[in-house]
């Protein structure tokens, strides 16, 4: 990767009570890079993802977004968060807003775009993820896969520098996983910088530039998808892969 360093995590440590969930994490994600984070449950990968826009606080270390250190609170934090898209496992669409309002809310309230401009761009994005004809519906009227695609459009509407995906397909019925992965694969091809926590090994192979394997709060191994999936170096990664790739 030759892009500029966009997300830099330097020596991050975090505890939940006595549990040391992130241990000396160092990761740099460059512009245009797609990094897939995998690992067993409880390995800290979701927590890592959520620290990048400070939905989780950290105990020590520094997080830098496009050269700017992440502020601890206030309007500076809100501004940097607006540049980091976030797609959640449980979608988290605003339940009292229509699909289109979900997508235009950030651009109008945070970016101060006019309603007309925001709606025009919002419709383009909804069309792009294949939900254009559902724009006036409420989230509860949509299937899980459709809701997650709206959530991706909502992130894109902010023109983020990077999008974090926190297990975006884990809550979906199996037949809806592919439609979400297809949207994500397209994004990756178009050069969006992405950090993706997922169990979808097919997506990792197809779209990722780099795979980060975590276990017990540590980054155990990092490599290209090809090298990682065919020739994992650590015992823990080999053990993990043997369990998930055999079925």
């Amino acid at each position: 990767m030759t892009g500029r360093p966009l997300v830099v995590l330097d020596n991050i440590n975090k505890h939940f009570g006595d549990l040391h969930v992130l241990k000396d994490i160092n990761v740099t994600v460059h512009a245009g890079e797609v990094v897939v984070v995998i690992g067993p449950s409880g390995s800290g990968k979701s927590t890592l993802c959520r620290t990048v826009n400070r939905l989780e606080t950290i105990d020590s270390g520094t997080i830098t977004l496009d050269g700017e250190p992440l502020p601890e609170e206030g309007s500076g934090l809100a501004r940097l968060r607006s540049d980091v898209g976030m797609v959640f496992q449980s979608f988290n669409l605003f339940a009292h807003k229509t699909v289109l309002q979900n997508v235009t809310l950030g651009p109008t309230k945070v970016r101060k775009k006019s309603k007309g401009d925001a709606e025009k761009r919002g419709m383009e994005l909804l069309d792009r993820v294949g939900i254009g004809d559902q724009a006036q519906k409420y989230p509860a009227q949509l299937s899980g896969g459709q809701q997650q695609r709206v959530a991706i459009a909502r992130s894109l509407a902010m023109d983020p520098k990077v999008i974090m995906f926190d297990e975006p397909t884990s809550a979906l019925d199996p037949e809806m996983v592919q439609e979400v992965l297809d949207v994500m694969t397209d994004l990756a091809r178009e050069g969006m910088t992405m950090i993706v926590v997922t169990h979808e090994m097919g997506f990792a192979r197809r779209a990722a530039h780099r795979v980060v394997f975590m276990d017990g709060g540590q980054i155990v191994e990092e490599n290209t998808p090809d090298a990682f999936f065919t020739n994992a170096q650590s015992e823990r990664a080999k053990d993990f892969l043997s369990k998930i790739l055999t079925h």
Partner: protein, 227 residues
């Protein structure tokens, strides 16, 4: 028996009875609006990320909610208006009306605040996380995402708070403002107390409170957030 169920005093003095209930309605409407505004400000303080605001909100709610309404109203009219000479109108009746509204709203706002706070607890955490993730500030996420959803889940219990408030207007008599209950006392003195007068006024209050309850029940169904 005929005398006990004699409703004629109500009809003979209907102008006064109607004027009394008009005062009750005026008190109720103004206090409902003001307590809703105050209660919303209080709940914003109680969930704010600033410890000082949180403490102020908590102390206010616990102090006022646990003081009898009679004392709150006496404090409002006697201490603030009569003793400190803070006056909103030179017409005594208008002045006492407003201090009645202030006292009743200061008291009811605590209950509105607590009902809203329980509503906030029903909004999934993910809604706030998504709001923060698109760069909304704390105040924006509260105003645009959290409170609108919280309001909709607590419309029915808010109806109960307002029904209690309408009945609490009968205490405003201690703040020197005459509403329906004060007129009832007058009629007792003029005609001697009778079950007829009592039932007449009780029905008068039900005419106000029953539709309030049904209205809020209907509104709750209509505005429910589907998840």
């Amino acid at each position: 028996m005929g005398e006990i169920f004699d409703f004629s005093p109500i009809f003979e003095s209907f102008d006064r009875v109607w004027a009394g209930f008009q005062s009750t309605i005026q008190l109720s409407v103004a206090s409902a609006i003001l307590s809703l505004v105050l209660g919303t400000i209080l709940v914003a303080m109680r969930v704010a990320p600033i410890p000082l605001l949180r403490a102020a909100g908590t102390i206010y709610v616990n102090a006022v909610r646990n003081t009898p309404l009679t004392l709150v109203l006496l404090f409002s009219s006697l201490a603030i208006s009569d003793t400190l000479h803070i006056v909103v109108s030179d017409v005594p009746r208008t002045n006492y009306y407003w201090f009645g509204v202030f006292g009743l709203s200061a008291y009811t706002a605590c209950f509105v605040c607590e009902v809203l706070r329980s509503g906030i607890n029903t909004v999934p955490l993910g809604q706030a996380e998504a709001a923060r993730s698109i760069g909304l500030t704390f105040a924006q996420s509260l105003r645009i995402i959290i409170l609108p959803q919280a309001f909709r889940t607590v419309i029915a219990p808010l109806g109960s708070v307002f029904i209690a408030m309408i009945k609490n207007t009968t205490v405003v008599i201690v703040a020197s403002y005459a509403e329906a209950a004060a007129i009832m006392k007058d009629l007792f003195e003029d005609y001697s107390a009778s079950l007829g007068i009592f039932i007449g006024f009780a029905i008068g209050f039900m005419v106000l409170t029953l539709p309030t309850g049904y209205f809020f029940g209907w509104l709750a169904k209509r505005l429910a957030v589907a998840r």
